[in-house]
Symmetry: C2
Subunit: 547 residues, 2 copies
């Protein structure tokens, strides 16, 4: 029975033109990676689950594609029954405890609605049932259990069928997460950074540090697919480990500039910030936990104006004094060097802030001295991507003005890349190119070279067995000169063969018919102009030289 074929959502087939265009971008990125001294490595598509899990937060863990163990993967399936029993035991224990507490204290529904009442109960229960509670994974469940007992069982009476149903729901909700590690020990790579850290630690004795590596491979994420977001996509990363020299920051900025210039994508903006500047600002506004709210609000300065920004900050709980103290940030102007001077007075009392300024000064002045080809470097104190990840420089590249597209590249310095795998104190810094977004930008701006649409240079029309043998010989010589050439496989109607030539956008069609064979010559038709030229079969070099 024939199936109507399809592909999984969030994945893509790439046609010849798309592959040619993607490879065009990749080849240029690769060329500059290599010219900058980066070396390629490749890692397996799947890693042991423990290598990946727990490295990207709970949300990341959820988005990692897990691979089913092969063979009898259900060997441990009995765990499911056991797990059901444990969930049930926990729920009943907690339930009885709640009833006891309610009875002993004579609590009513009114009490339940009192501020802090359920919170107190919650923390007490959590402490008491910690051991069983771990099967319930997270606080939300204990909280809903509390609500359930108080609200759904009227007058705190017991309704065991309802409880059983609740247990069933919980069990169903939790069991996939509990069960996955029992039947899956491998997972598809989620990014290239964690596998790289794993690689560095595993191969530390073969590596000459500083190690400049690049890696261009697909990664997989079980994200909800949407425009420009796929479940399989390429990452193009260059990282240096084992050097804390600011030369790396300088070179990576140059590298961005070199790649985008080579792609003819002029007018990009490389935004630069430093985690230490952000720490300095956090000191100034007096609260680390408000830093993100602060930068998010500040980022809107151009769009909504100073007043609205301050309003938002106040709403988020940032004090008037803090806003006043940070006011120089509202008035920053001039180029990067001038802005740095303004930042200096703001962060004068913050040691970490001043260290960030000094780093930025060195990077910016070196780049100024060396010059950029087509990108502009911009200091952006609101740039906070991967706030908890980066420890020094933070980069982000925006497409030229007028192109509505998020960042087309980003990166930064992270002090302890390999620590998770046991190799301490190795500083890393890296940048990434967003292949899919760069593709969309180049497409929008019409920057793909026309030659990428052409999959073949010369097509020989097939006039029959004897003629095609001569064509094959000619094609052999063309191919030896690196020219993409082929003979149409059968002596089909001329119209059909010419249609094929048009569809494949062949620039030259070669005709060797009966007469040409007799004269030992071939006719070349230039498809764009319709012009025809005759060459000797003994001297195809004369044609080759025109290509």
């Amino acid at each position: 029975m024939a199936q109507k074929p399809s592909i999984p959502k969030g994945t893509r087939d790439f046609s010849p033109t798309e592959v040619a265009r993607r490879n065009y971008i990749i080849q240029i990125i690769k060329k500059h990676f290599e010219v900058y001294g980066f070396q390629p490595i490749e890692t397996p598509s799947f890693e042991n689950s423990e290598t990946l899990l727990g490295k990207y937060g709970d949300e990341g863990d959820r988005l990692i594609f897990k691979i089913l163990n092969s063979g009898d993967f259900l060997k441990q399936a009995d765990y499911l029954q056991e797990f059901r029993a444990k969930v049930s035991k926990s729920i009943h224990l907690i339930n009885n405890e709640i009833l006891d507490i309610v009875k002993k204290n004579g609590f009513t529904k009114k009490d339940y609605y009192k501020d802090g009442f359920t919170e107190t109960l919650f923390f007490g229960l959590k402490k008491k049932f910690g051991e069983h509670h771990r099967y319930l994974k997270n606080d939300t469940i204990l909280r809903s259990l509390l609500d359930f007992n108080f609200l759904r069982i009227h007058d705190f009476g017991q309704d065991s069928s309802k409880i059983e149903r609740f247990i069933d729901e919980l069990y169903k909700k939790e069991r996939s997460g509990e069960f996955a590690p029992k039947i899956s020990e491998k997972a598809l790579r989620y990014d290239l950074t964690v596998p790289f850290a794993r690689y560095v630690v595993m191969h530390q004795n073969e590596i000459d540090f500083p190690f400049k590596r690049y890696q261009i491979q697909p990664v997989w994420r079980a994200d909800r697919p949407q425009k420009g977001r796929f479940r399989e996509f390429y990452q193009c990363d260059a990282d240096v480990v084992g050097s804390d020299s600011l030369l790396q920051e300088v070179e990576l900025i140059q590298l961005y500039d070199a790649v985008f210039t080579d792609l003819k994508l002029t007018g990009t903006t490389i935004k630069l910030n430093n985690r230490k500047i952000l720490s300095g600002i956090a000191e100034v506004i007096g609260a680390k936990h408000l830093l993100i709210d602060f930068t998010v609000a500040l980022d809107k300065l151009d769009k909504i104006g100073e007043e609205k920004v301050k309003e938002e900050m106040l709403n988020k709980g940032i004090s008037e004094i803090a806003i006043e103290k940070a006011s120089p940030l509202f008035a920053m102007n001039g180029d990067a060097a001038e802005q740095l001077a303004q930042l200096k007075s703001l962060l004068a009392d913050s040691e970490v802030g001043m260290s960030g300024i000094s780093e930025l000064e060195e990077i910016i002045s070196t780049i100024k001295e060396l010059g950029l080809k087509s990108a502009s470097l911009q200091l952006d104190v609101t740039l906070a991507r991967g706030l908890n990840y980066y420890t020094g420089a933070i980069f982000e590249v925006s497409a030229p003005e007028g192109v509505s597209m998020g960042s087309i590249g980003g990166g930064g310095r992270y002090d302890d890349l390999t620590g998770i795998f046991g190799l301490k104190d190795v500083s890393g810094i890296g940048i990434s190119f967003g292949l899919d977004r760069i593709y969309l930008v180049l497409e929008e701006l019409g920057l793909f070279p026309e030659r990428l649409d052409k999959s073949i240079d010369v097509l020989c029309i097939n006039f029959g067995e004897k003629e095609s043998l001569s064509s094959l010989k000619l094609v052999g010589k063309l191919r030896e000169s690196g020219i993409k050439a082929e003979v149409y496989p059968s002596a089909a109607k001329m119209q059909k063969q010419m249609k094929y030539a048009n569809n494949r956008k062949v620039p030259y069609v070669v005709l060797i018919g009966e007469r040409e064979l007799l004269n030992q010559e071939f006719v070349v038709k230039t498809m764009a102009t319709g012009e025809q030229e005759t060459y000797s079969l003994k001297n195809p070099g004369n044609f080759i030289d025109t290509l």
Copy 2:
């Protein structure tokens, strides 16, 4: 807690040198694919399970890596309970039936050992319990159930605990296979051919036939890892669909020759056979099912001699008359054309055989006319790879004599590639290059160019901040000329920097110290000879020209 990192068995990390060497092979294959008019496509790493399952036989299905559904993948887990119940029901039904039969007929143990006794019982039961039996997947289980009842339950008495244990075993054995489709809807690609067929059918309206596509992507198989066999490996395939012209066969042979010649791997043998020749031989020996035994035995002719080969054939059940009829195959000699002449008399009465000969004649004579660069074409009537798969030409490439390695490439023509997905009557033909094996052969023969070991052309020693700024400027100019260059990131001890240069096999080290800076010059040290040359910083072109 730091983990000691590892990678899944059967997978590999590739170091910079390994990536460079693999890319060297891939680039050459790719270059010739393109020069021969093939266009690249790429398909997703995972496909919908129904696209892949059932296409590679039971063994293949087992070796396909399945991806766990994301989210609550156990939504259907209750199926497991249901399945246990069904297995149990089937077993009890069959068990009771056996007991009934035994009792009614007064069978004894002695009967059990009679020839054909259990077979008769088996087919009777199979017919009767077909419906329930499908949960038990295969005949082996019904057979073991029969044995179990007759042998393990003494005197045919019932021991329900033993039966329950048996049911449990069966259930455990079967449930993984039954359960997998419930929790996994996607699977990693097993080869490039099925995804290609799926691609052709899905995109048939955008494709200009004949469609010549190439595809170089990894595939995954849950095979037992062993030397040269991995769970993740690349396939490099070129296929043509929509043309039954023998020109394709000719071109694919030329393509093999072009690639291996370009890799400097001269002396390869391209073995050629045709499925129709094999069908002809099957007619001659009078038995299709003995064809494989026949060709396997015939293949040993060189090693064990005619007598032993005939002995093996007789042992396999091939009749003396058949062997006598096929005797011309034992005496084949000369080149391909001569062998074909000999085959003609053997297969004179077989229409399909003669059609195979005529195809081979055309291919071989055209190749003879066009010539091969370094490979030799050999007719091999014992070549039967993928016997049930190919319908016309069959190819296989062996490494040069003296290199012990299986085939380094193979392929053939298959008449109905896309039929499984509903597009009928599209002939396909394709070849594949075995990247890992080619790698091992090139390594063994020392055929990788030395330049692949060199990851960088020029290293500038870092003498401090001021000097390194000049180095950065020089390096910028070198990079613009496509030269791989870098500045050592910090002013570390000379010894350390030189050690790094040696480890990375840098051919030229550039020195810009205090004196050079003063004189606006740079010193180039050629590492191989120790020679030093001085150039002006204003005129780095003089140095670049020497590279």
